[in-house]
Amino acid sequence: MTNASIPQMTIDPARKAEQIRSALLMLLPVAIVAVLPLLPFVNDYIIAATVRALIFITLGQAWNVVAGIGGLLSLGHGVFLGLGAYTTGILFNRYGIPPWIGVWAGAAIAMVFALVMGSMTLRMRGVFFALATVAMSLALVQVTRHFVDLTGGSDGLALKFNGNSFWAMQARTPAPFLYAGLVMVAIYYGITRWILKSRFGLEMMAVRDDEVAAAAAGVSVFRTKMLGFLLSAMMTAVAGTLYMQFYMAIDPEAAFGLSQAIQLQLPALLGGLGTAWGPIIGGAVMIFLSEVTNLGATKLEITGLDILVYGCMLLFVVLRAPKGIVGFFTEKRRKS
């Protein structure tokens, strides 16, 4: 069965008007972010915070593919973020290879890692897959700390800065990254929408909801999980390159550490797992809350308050709002 054989729904005018209205509503945040640098009261600090939000949105969108749509709890997705960031950085610093090429090298390496990890663990129950991803990320923390010559060890790897350069994907001001981030979020949103509608996405969701039933209906469970995992690994590594170009540096904890892996999951969890809008809304909320807490924390002189807030957010979402912000609103809409 291909997509073409699914009967097209007839679209009535009222429904079409509704669709146009919601499409315009979607363009509003895009427009606001796009004109942000032109507004008078906006400084580099606000733009940088927005870029951070956009980067974590892309990471959340990538994780959403494997965890939200595929139902696979990858707790070590930092592995792919780190591989993307380190590969781009090392290729640029040592060989002068620009990130435009490095990004694909990073994505390829991340996919090889995902293939090895997936083929060993995806046939097992979910807990073991989760544990294996944790083990892999912690092993990489130790390995990157050890090979100081290549990775810079515990101090991390800093990109060589050559001033503003499109070719080297570097800029003195955060504004260019705003547009890069915006484009990536839009592309990832498109990919997520495509997956949700495609046969592949339907198969992933079938496997997520009931593996046995999906297999009985002719879905190749292992292959579906593997493809989802590979796609998500690639998307995360590409976002990792953007991360590297914006932050200009990475260290083992920021790449492979568990708290980074958790930050990368929160956008999708907060916003709504398995939805196209979830990571976008969740990422914006997450960065907003963490900026506010950090401002408060510097006044109170307490470090790590943002991590405490992340922990509370995680508990709140899991215990009280398992469908996230998007789920909360769609349910309300249905009731009314």
């Binding site: 129950r125 897959f129 912690l138 470090t303 991590i307 405490l308 922990g311 508990l315």
Partner: protein, 295 residues
């Protein structure tokens, strides 16, 4: 000493100290294994309770001048109490299924507990001293830390006590019944929620006790618990999730492999073979050496 003799001596030293360290890893992990065996809960915050146990030792030693080893029952009680709260607030909702939500909730707990510790005790590393700390014994050709020997003996005793508790008491039988078949246990009149709270409190209490023992030779900090989680997970998976004795032996295996790697290769990479081993176990024998085969 040179040549093969020297090498064998170093290997023997590594293996013996590996067993001593590994015994403590074992008792750190037994609680996690118990919670999984009975309730299918993977408590990612288990390491945090070990860390709280370590701080109990620090406070006793630095604040009151009491030997941490004398207040083991107290640290057991305190962390068991934290466990009861954790169970009532969070894990009560997830008994029986190690789902995505449950693992995430456990991670949320870990983050909160870790940051609360950082606010309470500060971010810097702290140590505690018992009468055995910093004392060494020559046992034949081997040079061993007394604190580690004592910690190992306590670890063995605690694991044996838990095994006896589960084997021989009526409560232990109820726990095993719930672990085997929840519905059947309820049918014969076992109140599974009491059993679960008790088992979870035992699990976290053991973590705290093990932490207080560990702090006599290993410094603590708010991130110490998270740092211990990999070893705890690996020991549990190698030994067999749900098997108490197996998990203890898994801990010893971890200790020995770490020490041998440090000796033969590099101490900075001492955990890498363990991660590889974990991947191999997950791929080929996810039930570990002693875990139940059927699921």
């Amino acid at each position: 000493m040179a040549g093969i003799e020297g090498f064998l001596f170093l290997a023997l030293q590594a293996i013996v100290s590996g067993i001593l360290v590994g015994g403590v890893y074992g008792v750190l992990s037994v609680g996690l294994s118990l919670a999984f065996g009975v309730m299918r809960i993977v408590n990612f915050a288990h390491g945090e309770l070990v860390m709280y146990g370590m701080y109990v030792g620090v406070i006793a030693s630095k604040g009151f001048g009491i030997d941490p080893l004398l207040i083991l029952p107290l640290s057991f009680l305190i962390t068991a109490l934290v466990g009861v709260v954790q169970y009532q607030v969070v894990f009560r909702h997830f008994v029986g299924h190690a789902t995505l939500q449950q693992l995430l909730a456990a991670i949320g707990c870990a983050l909160v507990l870790q940051m609360v510790a950082q606010i309470l005790f500060g971010a810097d590393a702290k140590t505690a001293t018992s009468v055995f700390s910093g004392q060494y014994t020559l046992l034949g050709p081997l040079f061993l830390s007394q604190a580690q020997i004592v910690a190992f003996l306590i670890a063995v005793a605690a694991t044996l006590a838990v095994t006896l508790l589960l084997r021989s008491t009526a409560w232990g039988k109820a726990v095993r019944a719930v672990a085997d078949d929840l519905e059947a246990a309820e049918i014969v009149g076992i109140n599974s929620s009491y059993v679960n709270i008790g088992a979870f409190a035992l699990s976290t209490g053991l973590a705290g006790l093990a932490g207080t023992v560990l702090v006599t030779y290993f410094p603590t900090s708010p991130s110490a618990g998270f740092a211990l989680m990999p070893i705890i997970i690996i020991a549990t998976t190698i030994g067999g999730l749900g098997s108490i004795g197996g998990t203890f032996l898994g801990g010893i295996a971890c200790g020995v492999i770490q020490q041998l790697t440090a000796m033969l290769w590099n101490s900075a990479l001492q955990d890498v073979p363990l991660y590889i081993l974990l991947m191999l176990f997950i791929a080929f024998r996810p039930t570990g050496f002693f875990g139940k085969r059927s699921e």
